[in-house]
Point group: none
DNA sequence: ACAAAGCTGACACGGGCCTGACACGTCTCG
DNA sequence: CGAGACGTGTCAGGCCCGTGTCAGCTTTGT
């Protein structure tokens, strides 16, 4: 998928680009509305991430102008959390909004949600061994059993579920779960792996420890 | 279903279109009576939403003229809440009226009501577990018990009832329940969920809190 | 055996959620 | 027209849950 990121904060833009690139998306970066227009004229995108505060105007005005002749879904990035801002954005054609500062996992989740909504498929549950995992609601079902995970646990399991068999280091998991300026210890990962293990164990899922390297999700019994 | 919206306020028209599109309707927009005539000549519609204040005349006159040779149901949008206005509209052939500013949920409800009335089907009650919910009258019956909900509570329950099992965030509920320019706190949703819980609890219905995500209606006991 | 790496029970904190109370506007009667 | 009833949205305070850290323990590799 090809995204256009319209954001004047270079550092944040860099971080978002890198993150979305990890999921296999190509991200073009525009620092202003003028640049954005230029990019949109040059090629077509699957998704636009649009900041509202830009050096040469308000992103929402741009959105209102472009919406008529623009099919591409748009997610608005806003620093303000006021209701009027949000409603205004949605009315002017945004598909979703997210308030800064946001965690990367949050951004990824919304990107997927918007793409899926546009794509038309109702919901996507990921098969995990005998179980079915719904990363949107954070539920895991197997047989008659059903478990509801907490937010962070859901994001953690999602990383493993979307990259079957892959081993992730604690550093990688940390980068994927938290926003780029969050100061969190690697120990937190250990804690969450532990909590997640306790939850998904009864459903036949295991997280293997690869000493010195990281963790790996095992769907089949050893 | 294909609707014709006759409304000269572009922003409002856009918002209404988007909202009704979410329910799977196609909405054509006319900014004046002349445009409306043109659209009506070109194709046929299942419902007309008609503003009364238009740049080239009064919508009610238009309605009176057209009624004779127009089968299509009409909902009149009026800014004035005076009783005489309403009565006048209904006399001249409107199927319903709604006063601006209106909430989207209200509009949706009236649209459904008019379509159903025209369609001939008597009333549609939604089964909710052991209970029957009538979103028009806002009554909920189960066994011998019967509860009458207030307006907002009815709209809220309706959202859940029409999307079984789905989880709605407070933001989503806010967008669905209130008009696009209303400045309402998300706390209002919490309050209404609380009030609704107290009402429907005795009838065996529960609203689950999904912390950090939103709310979900549970029809079966845990 | 002894570091280093990983695990986990306990805890403090922050924020999301809930609720009683209130203020405001509207409608309905007398 | 005035008084009361009702529906609605806000606010403040309190509760409770998710979260991240720490300290001490266990496991693993050499």
């Amino acid at each position: 998928m090809r995204f256009l990121l319209v954001e004047d904060n270079g550092e944040l833009a860099e971080a978002v680009s890198n993150r979305l690139a990890l999921d296999g998306h190509a991200v073009d970066h525009a620092g202003s509305l003028a640049e954005a227009e230029h990019c949109l004229a040059a090629t077509s995108y699957d998704l636009i991430l649009l900041d509202v505060m830009l050096p040469d105007g308000d992103g929402r005005d741009f959105l209102a102008r472009s919406r008529a002749h623009l099919e591409t879904p748009v997610i608005v990035l806003t620093a303000r959390a006021r209701v009027t801002d949000r409603v205004g954005a949605l009315d002017q054609g945004a598909d979703d909004y997210i308030t800064k500062p946001f965690d990367f996992s949050e951004l990824e989740a919304r990107v997927r949600a918007v793409l899926r909504r546009r794509g038309g498929s109702a919901r996507n549950e990921i098969p995990l061994g005998e179980a079915l995992f719904d990363p949107m609601s954070g539920t895991l079902r197997a047989g008659g059993e059903s478990v509801t995970l907490r937010n962070r646990e859901t994001r953690l399991l999602e990383v493993f579920a979307r990259h079957p068999g892959q081993t992730f280091s604690k550093g990688q998991l940390l980068d994927r779960l938290f926003s780029f300026d969050a100061e969190v210890t690697e120990n937190a990962i250990e804690v969450y792996v532990g909590r997640l293990r306790r939850r998904i164990g009864p459903l036949g899922l295991r997280i293997e420890t690869v000493r010195g390297l990281g963790y790996r999700l095992e769907t089949a019994p050893a």
